[in-house]
């Protein structure tokens, strides 16, 4: 079920009312209800894949209990390995098997041997990378004794499959989300109002900003060989905004929905395109994944507190794994590598933690220096996004070459249509003046209701007017 579908418009209020008015008698009943509706939500795509989530949840539930109950290091390690192998095994089979098989065959072909790769005819289960990472973090945290293994099987299954964030994150840590399933939830008007605002803003970013940019992006990337440089630049900007609108829109709807049910999910995006350098960008983009890699991979490898050579190796490794997490394609690896190249100079010079606070924090507009820094950072991310969007490396290289090789000025301004410029302008203004600030959804309350109410209506009208007719899927579902 898509958040931007009509089905969800019916699903959400029904579940909301049943949750607070029928199943509120006991916590267990409420959690069981959440588990049921989460499975319905996921099964709406393909019910067969429910068995994967159920199996993954069961393995991690048992493994965590075994890890906790044993004092022997080897036993603890054995059950952690079982948990990790199960989750990574699912990813390997469904996501990476065909890629490795094909790459191996291609490699042998380069050496003059012809191999017929064995490929599996399987569909990638929606959101598999998200929930496997979520359950793995639970097993690791129990192994590290940061968390007590839960005995409540329903609570744990509901935590793994919690429908707002099941298919595209935020990748919640058990330390944050699981305890919320053990406590009685109380509805608060303020949290409900903030949740609704966040859902509305998320829908706007997805249905208006991302889906409209997608129309332009598809046209430009499909015909990039014949288009002038200025259009190709615009294409990469459209894609940068599309992927941000799409993914952060989903996160906002997920966080907003969770608030309606009394849960608090972690922030996943903090206006990343207003970053002044790439290190700041990575602290603001897909925070739940970045921090996952930081805590479970980067720090165990030694992080940056090692010699220069190892620090460079660790950084490269993390960015490559992050790229590979997105998909089994060389383009994602190239995207990761490029980001590592952007990041390493900052790490080596100690500038990676220079810009911690929000840009122009107590000012209305940025100064020239900040504007320039943001422009350069955005340009660098746009170049990397070309690799992310292209079908293969050579297409990405041709695209980037096209920016400087072909003529620059377009024959017509189809790709600069006022409709798209208008949409981007609204998004940019709101993002800068309102959502750049911490707790922006709560601070809206400070405005008079005579400003707030018409603003909501206008935003809803704009969303209806500019929405692309057919509900578009979210990009991050494929990861």
């Amino acid at each position: 079920m898509l958040f931007n579908s009509f089905e969800y418009v019916l699903f959400l209020p029904i579940v909301f009312l049943l949750y607070w008015f029928v199943f509120n008698k006991s916590l267990k009943l409420q959690n069981f209800f959440l588990l049921t509706v989460s499975y319905i939500f996921y099964g709406w795509w393909d019910w067969r894949f429910l068995s994967l989530i159920a199996f993954s949840s069961l393995v991690d539930y048992v493994a965590a209990l075994k890890i906790e109950s044993s004092e022997k290091r080897n036993t603890r390690r054995l059950f952690l390995t079982i948990s990790l192998l199960t989750n990574l095994g699912f990813l390997g089979v469904f996501k990476y098997f065909n890629f490795f098989s094909q790459s191996l065959a291609d490699g042998f072909e380069q050496l003059g041997y012809t191999l017929h790769p064995l490929t599996l005819d399987v569909v990638l289960p929606v959101g598999i990378s998200f929930y496997t990472f979520q359950t793995m973090s639970y097993s690791i945290d129990v192994y590290r004794k940061k968390l007590t293994a839960t005995k409540e099987i329903i609570d744990f299954f509901a935590y793994v499959s919690f429908f707002p964030q099941l298919v595209a994150g935020p990748i919640e840590r058990a330390t944050n989300l699981l305890p919320q399933f053990h406590k009685k939830r109380i509805f608060s008007y303020d949290q409900g109002a903030i949740g609704m605002r966040q859902i509305l803003w998320g829908l706007f970013k997805k249905m208006v900003v991302a889906d409209n940019c997608a129309v332009m992006v598809d046209q430009i990337f499909d015909n990039h060989e014949t288009l002038p440089g200025s259009v190709l630049i615009m294409g990469s900007i459209y894609f940068a905004i599309q992927i941000y609108g799409d993914f952060s829109g989903y996160s906002d709807i997920a966080i907003g929905t969770a608030r309606l049910f009394g849960f608090k999910l972690m922030t996943n995006f903090r206006t990343p395109y207003f970053s002044r350098d790439m290190a700041e960008f990575w602290r603001r983009w897909h925070i739940s994944l970045s921090t996952w890699f930081r805590d479970y991979l980067y720090i165990p490898l030694g992080g940056s507190r090692v010699n220069t050579q190892r620090a460079i190796r660790n950084t490269f490794f993390i960015f490559l794994v992050s790229g590979f997490w997105h998909g089994a394609n060389w383009t994602f690896l190239a995207w990761g590598a490029l980001n590592a190249i952007y990041f390493i100079p900052l790490l080596l010079t100690g500038y990676n933690r220079k810009n911690i606070s929000t840009v122009a924090e107590n000012r209305c507009l940025p100064n020239i220096k900040e504007l320039l820094q943001m422009g350069i950072t955005f340009a660098l991310t746009c170049i990397a996004w070309v690799f992310f969007r292209a079908e293969n490396i050579s297409t990405a290289v041709t695209y980037l070459k096209g920016i400087i090789t072909y003529k620059f000025i377009p024959d017509n301004y189809h790709y600069f249509h006022p409709k798209y410029i208008f949409i981007l302008a609204i998004w940019l203004v709101l993002e800068w003046f309102i959502f750049r600030h911490d707790d922006a959804f709560g601070k809206i309350d400070l405005l008079s209701k005579w400003i707030r109410r018409p603003a909501y209506f206008i935003l809803i009208c704009i969303t209806i007017i500019f929405t692309v007719n057919e509900a578009q899927s979210f990009i991050y579902f494929q990861f």
């Binding site: 009509f6 019916l10 607070w20 509805f187 008007y189 409900g192 109002a193 609704m196 109410r453 909501y456 209506f457 809803i460 009208c461 209806i464 007017i465 929405t467 007719n469 057919e470």
Partner: protein, 307 residues
């Protein structure tokens, strides 16, 4: 919780009222524009992109082409009803009917709404919308939402009271499209064949139902109806599944009592007359329009030719 639910309900209610007001104002605006634009045309050309590209109304006096891309018969029916409301002098209707008009794609269109279909929705009454939604309340509500979307599009025109100068400017009324294309690319033809004839369901029940409703409406209003099957390129027509051709012939036989049928596929047209495999270009339209006129004249449905 109580406060939250009351506020949400109140806001939803206010929003629904606002939408209804916009929809009613939009429809009123469209009707006023239509009244002002419809003259006393005696011949109406209707259909989808095939007739849109194939019949040039400037060659036939006192005629108008209101065909629109991908238009289902359901909306042709509502367009005709609306026109007859303002123009009682219509004597003849030319309606495009070809093999692809039976395609099952028209029955699944509510799942993948094309831009044209959404524009057409603003015109249909609730029964039509319900029909279009496969009589499913769920899809019906979805259609209504899309209709509101379409009406909202006209809001700037309503506010500025912008007047359309010709019917083509007023969505979704369509018009003749003089195409300059000449692209008989195999991939385009294959794509069209796939889109038209390989769907599930295979045939559209909605299309057949509304084709008959159009014919009945014409009979009721004593209007002559002429069915035209616009010319198709041989490379396209050879790829049409035989069962589609048989079904087409059966339906044509069942409806064509007292109805003139103009089959463009009898015309020998060279490649330069086609925009693509199933559409004529400007040159082809000139020839086919004259062919249609000559058949009408032979069958005593006299019409004047504009030079």
């Amino acid at each position: 919780m109580k406060k939250f639910l009351i506020k949400i309900s109140l806001n939803l209610f206010l929003f629904a009222i606002l939408m209804l007001c916009i929809k009613q104002t939009g429809l009123k605006y469209n009707n006023n524009q239509l009244k002002h634009l419809i003259k006393n045309e005696e011949l109406i050309i209707m259909g989808d992109s095939h007739t849109k590209c194939a019949i040039n109304p400037s060659l036939i006096s006192n005629s108008i082409n209101i065909s629109e891309h991908s238009e289902p018969y359901l909306f042709s029916y509502y367009k005709l009803k609306k026109i007859l409301q303002y123009n009682p002098s219509v004597k003849t209707v030319i309606l495009g009917f070809s093999f692809h008009n039976l395609s099952g794609i028209y029955d699944i269109s509510n799942k993948s709404l094309s831009e044209t279909t959404v524009k057409c929705m603003a015109l249909a009454d609730y029964e039509g919308l319900f029909d279009f939604s496969n009589r499913s309340p769920f899809h019906f509500a979805k259609s209504l939402l899309h209709t509101t979307n379409e009406v909202l599009y006209t809001l700037p025109n309503i506010i500025t009271q912008k007047k359309a100068t010709k019917l083509e400017d007023l969505e979704p009324w369509g018009g003749y499209y003089p195409s300059n294309n000449s692209n008989l690319n195999d991939s385009i033809i294959n794509c069209a064949i796939l889109r038209h004839y390989h769907n599930n369901p295979k045939y559209s029940t909605l299309q057949i139902k509304y084709l008959i409703k159009i014919i009945d409406l014409c009979k009721e209003c004593k209007i002559d109806i002429i069915i035209v099957n616009t010319p198709l390129h041989t490379r396209y027509s050879k790829m049409i599944p035989i069962d589609f051709k048989n079904k087409f012939t059966d339906i044509l036989r069942s409806i064509s009592e007292d109805i003139i049928h103009v089959d463009g596929n009898g015309l020998e047209l060279d490649d330069t007359c086609f925009g693509d495999g199933d559409h004529l270009n400007k040159k082809g339209a000139q020839i086919f329009t004259n062919h249609t006129i000559s058949i009408m004249n032979k069958t005593k449905k006299k019409c004047n030719i504009t030079n």
